[in-house]
């Protein structure tokens, strides 16, 4: 049977498996390799070059060496505010997002009535157009007339000040980010479909309790998704942009507490026309993200379980 198959594919038969795999690997990856060459290499190298120049986005860049980097580190208090806010957001929102998305997915995977409706509802906020969503949120969180504080008002209290005071603003943004977690929930749901029923059955035979089944059957199978979620949310959180931008217009109000790294970078580039400085910020962010991600990749061998049989 094997020899017959090999003789049908003469090219495959003559090649060593290693060579054949390399060729196949490159062939399957070729769209992406071509795409990188066409749409990625030039913009990336260009932005790296800009980071060492004074460049307003249009006129010819002027080489300034490390000046942009030095300025960021030594002479820019906004930069450090943005760094702090961004790290705060990442540190608080990522664990919460993973726990919440996973928990919701588990509940939405339970065979209950109205499963489809529930799933749709949890997905809804991610579908609302940003302009409308920003407006709705702004309205809902308005300290006096907003619907969230309405119950407080009813009992004669003011309620939290949400986005208007430094004590609450960072937490409020974490809350808003968790609100649009629907996509991540879908991801875990897709991952949960991979849990083979026979593993649960086997666990049942062993008399395992639900918690035990969760820890030793469900979690390991979902670790590839957790890994994906963790890595992409580190990248996403460090580039957190859309929500604070549409909610505050990028003012950083109050007390610079909503000024995030990407917002400040965007303002530098497209509002103050310091594209060189913005590029330097981008590359600093790139290096930091890469380091964090590589650490996660390193540890993944210890906790990510691929049922395909390979180590991550």
């Amino acid at each position: 049977m094997t020899t017959k198959a090999a003789s049908i594919r003469p090219s495959g038969a003559r090649m060593k498996p290693r060579t054949r795999n390399t060729i196949n690997g490159l062939l399957f990856a070729s769209p992406w390799l071509l795409g990188l060459a066409a749409f990625w290499i030039y913009p990336t190298i260009a932005s790296a070059y800009y980071s060492f120049t004074k460049f307003n986005g249009v006129q010819a860049p002027v080489w300034v060496g490390l000046a942009n980097y030095i300025k960021l580190f030594t002479d820019d208090s906004n930069f450090w505010d943005a760094v702090y806010n961004t790290f705060y957001f990442a540190a608080v929102s990522i664990p919460l997002a993973i726990i919440l998305a996973f928990a919701l997915a588990l509940m939405l995977n339970a065979k209950i009535r109205g499963q489809v409706v529930y799933r749709t509802i949890y997905f809804l906020p991610t579908l609302v157009p940003e302009v409308a969503l920003a407006l709705v949120w702004v309205y809902m969180f308005t300290p006096v007339s907003g619907i969230i504080n309405a119950p407080f008002q009813y009992f004669g209290h003011r309620g939290p000040c949400w986005l208007t005071c430094e004590a609450w603003s960072r937490q409020t943004l974490v809350l808003l980010a968790l609100w649009i977690i629907g996509q991540q929930v879908i991801l875990y749901l897709a991952g949960l479909q991979d849990v083979p029923q026979d593993l649960y059955d086997a666990a049942d035979v062993d008399g395992a309790n639900p918690l035990h089944k969760f820890r030793h059957v469900t979690v390991p199978i979902v670790t590839p998704v957790i890994f994906f979620h963790l890595v992409t949310s580190v990248i996403g959180a460090l580039q957190f942009f859309a929500i604070p931008y549409i909610m505050t217009g990028g003012t950083g109000f109050p007390a610079n507490s909503t000024l995030f790294y990407s917002i400040y970078m965007y303002k530098q580039g497209f509002q103050y026309f310091q594209m060189g400085l913005a590029s330097a910020m981008a590359w600093l962010l790139f290096v930091v993200t890469l380091i964090v991600t590589l650490v996660i990749f390193r540890t993944s061998r210890l906790w990510v379980f691929y049922s395909g049989g390979e180590q991550g």
Binding site: F28, A29, T120, L127, I147, Q183, L187, D198, T293
Partner: protein
């Protein structure tokens, strides 16, 4: 004669109560899940409900204090007005064209690349994988201008090409995502197919893709929504109103000093509905997956 049914009965009895107890347990568990899901569902519904409510409000009730949930009168005319105020159906067609073509391209290209990274043991794949993830780490803000220059040189500006074609060459995020799912499919399945004489393309098409339906559906939903809602891409690359998308059109309800909030919200509801429908349809794949992946290597 009499003893037999008795023994039969006595042996059935405990089993029945066992089933009953199991059913009761199951019912309680379901009830608990409902109890946890319902209040949270209300919270997650709030933005959409408020949008729906506002879409039916006359001009001035938006910020009323105390808040108005059920507008009086219900301004149904916001809906017909919204679709005539801008070229709604033209924008809808453009948005659909871009979203559908980009999604098809992403599904094909990303699954091919992910297959290479997850299923073919070739020497450079780990490096390419990390490299792929790394491309996500450079924020879009600083590559916007050079990327525009690339498309400008290609003569693609002011057409759908920059919004569709790149997606046929793969997206790092979805390559990463599909790779994760492809990795969980037992290698023995591929080995068995290889022994049967299948080439990689056939294994990809006949073995891997059917087993990764849930993941592919996820990518389809994510990419479709991303293109459906994309604002910056159409803003930068399109300068002909006949090519505009809904995400640009929605800004036409705003003006220098004001906005048609009711119309904007009505249009937002209309824009959201097609994706809700898509989601409904694709949900089935999230249930089917179970039966298919019941094979354990």
């Amino acid at each position: 004669m009499t003893a037999q049914p008795q023994t039969a009965q006595s042996s059935v009895q405990p089993r029945r109560t066992g089933i009953k107890r199991k059913q009761v347990k199951k019912a309680i568990r379901q009830l608990l899940v409902h109890l946890m899901l319902i209040p949270l569902a209300l919270v997650f519904m709030l933005p959409f409900l408020w949008m729906l409510s506002t879409s039916l409000k006359p001009d001035t009730q938006f910020y009323s204090y105390p808040p108005v949930w059920i507008p009086n009168p219900l301004q149904w005319s916001n809906y017909p007005d919204a679709v005539t105020y801008i070229s709604f159906f033209l924008y809808l067609r453009n948005t659909l064209t871009i979203a559908v073509l980009a999604t098809i391209g992403s599904l094909i290209s990303c699954s091919l690349v992910a297959y290479s990274l997850a299923r073919i043991p070739w020497p450079g794949r780990n490096f390419l994988f990390i490299f792929t993830v790394a491309t996500l780490m450079l924020p879009f803000q600083v590559t916007l201008i050079p990327l525009f220059v690339v498309y400008s040189r290609l003569g693609w500006v002011n057409s759908f090409l920059p919004l569709i074609v790149p997606h046929w060459f793969g997206s790092a995020l979805y390559i990463f995502l599909l790779r994760q799912f492809f990795m969980t499919i037992p290698m023995e399945l591929s080995e068995a197919a290889r022994i049967d004489g299948a080439g990689e393309l056939r294994i990809y098409w006949q073995v891997i893709l059917p087993l990764a339906k849930a993941a592919l559906a996820t990518v389809a939903i994510f990419e479709f929504i991303a293109r459906w809602r994309d604002y910056l891409g159409p803003l930068i690359y399109l300068s002909n109103q006949k090519l505009y998308t809904l995400s640009l059109g929605i800004y036409e309800y705003r003006s220098q000093y004001g906005a048609e909030w009711g119309l904007l919200m009505a249009a937002s509801v209309l824009i959201t509905l097609p994706i809700i429908l898509l989601f409904f349809f694709l949900q089935k794949t999230f249930v089917q997956g179970i039966a298919l992946t019941g094979i354990k290597g």
